[in-house]
């Protein structure tokens, strides 16, 4: 097996690992980070498959902005839960 195929398979395994981790993790913040990791690996796969246009979108929106938006949302909902507890 040539090294490129091996690398691709390894990255695909990373995608699967990230996705399963995102679903199974108990902590929401870790799950969001795992989902971002999945997108990052997917972006690398797109570059290997010579689709740089899609890779740029996936890297910036999938792993960057959406992770940040999820984290902001978690932050705000937690704060609301705190207020209800008080």
């Amino acid at each position: 097996m040539d090294p490129m195929t091996l690398l691709t398979l390894l990255i695909c395994a990373g995608i699967l690992f990230g996705a399963v981790a995102a679903v199974s993790m108990g902590n929401v913040v870790s799950a969001v980070i795992a989902a971002g990791l999945t997108s990052l690996f997917a972006a690398v796969t797109y570059v290997i498959l010579s689709a740089p246009d899609v890779a740029m979108t996936e890297a910036s929106i999938g792993s960057g902005l959406s992770t940040a938006i999820f984290l902001y949302a978690i932050n705000r909902t937690r704060r609301q839960e705190h207020e209800k507890d008080d």
């Binding site: 740089p52 246009d53 890779a55 740029m56 979108t57 910036s60 929106i61 960057g64 902005l65 940040a68 938006i69 902001y72 949302a73 705000r76 704060r79 609301q80």
Partner: protein, 230 residues
């Protein structure tokens, strides 16, 4: 028990679907007729070295207009929902970033903005385009928010940028209807020399509008989610 059975059944059906796709997979050795047309005629008809851009902006321009509309609607919905709830008026004071991060971001912010503009202006030449450039601009905003949580965007400027670029995009499309072959035809402007910055007709103009619009929208969405940091 019934729930378990349903889950197993759903998984089985999904597996059958994917098996069908995977079992019939054969690697394509030739382009489909329509792809052949794009590859052979694209440089002459559209004049963009980046064929993806030729397809996205010109051949399938209406789809892109639809995508821009979807993004606009979701940005408006986020704005509406997050302002309506009257959430967190008294947010906890955010933890300040370290001085190194703050200083670094102040130098990096304009450079990242410039890079975003570079991506969408060169959309017809190199990978990337309006959406990617806009996302990079929004990530510059995110960087700013992470380092300086108290920073505010000028909403009036964002709204004006966003509406004007949306209007400009549709205007170029309608001009295509009048001056060239149809709605969103890029031959409104001369095609120019293949591979130069000012070439490929209206594509750089359209991508500049899309880039500004997407950048402004996503930045506004980020600020809404960040909330009023007091």
């Amino acid at each position: 028990m019934a729930k378990r059975l349903l889950i197993v059944l759903a998984l089985f059906l999904l597996a059958m679907m994917f098996w069908e796709v995977a079992a019939n997979y054969t690697e394509r050795t030739a382009l489909t007729p329509i792809a052949t047309h794009y590859v052979a005629q694209g440089p002459d008809e559209v004049g963009a070295p980046n064929l993806v851009t030729a397809v996205v902006v010109t051949y399938r321009g209406l789809d892109t207009l639809g995508e821009v509309t979807v993004l606009f609607l979701s940005a408006v919905a986020v704005g509406l929902l997050l302002t309506m709830g009257g959430l967190d008026q008294k947010a906890e004071p955010p933890t300040p970033a370290s001085e190194i991060v703050e200083t670094a971001v102040q130098y990096l912010f304009p450079i990242v903005l410039l890079f975003g503009a570079y991506i969408f202006v060169n959309g017809h030449l190199s990978p990337g385009g309006g959406f990617q450039g806009g996302a990079v601009i929004a990530s510059a905003t995110l960087l700013l928010f992470l380092a300086l949580p108290r920073s505010k965007l000028r909403h009036a400027l964002l709204i004006i940028t966003e509406s004007l670029s949306g209007f400009g995009y549709v205007l170029v499309g309608v001009l295509g209807l009048v001056l060239a072959g149809g709605f969103l035809d890029n031959r409104v402007l001369p095609l120019g020399d293949y591979g130069r910055l000012f070439s490929a007709g209206a594509i750089p103009v359209i991508y500049t509008f899309i880039g500004l619009k997407v950048g402004a929208e996503l930045s506004a969405v980020l600020e809404r989610f960040k909330g009023e940091a007091s």
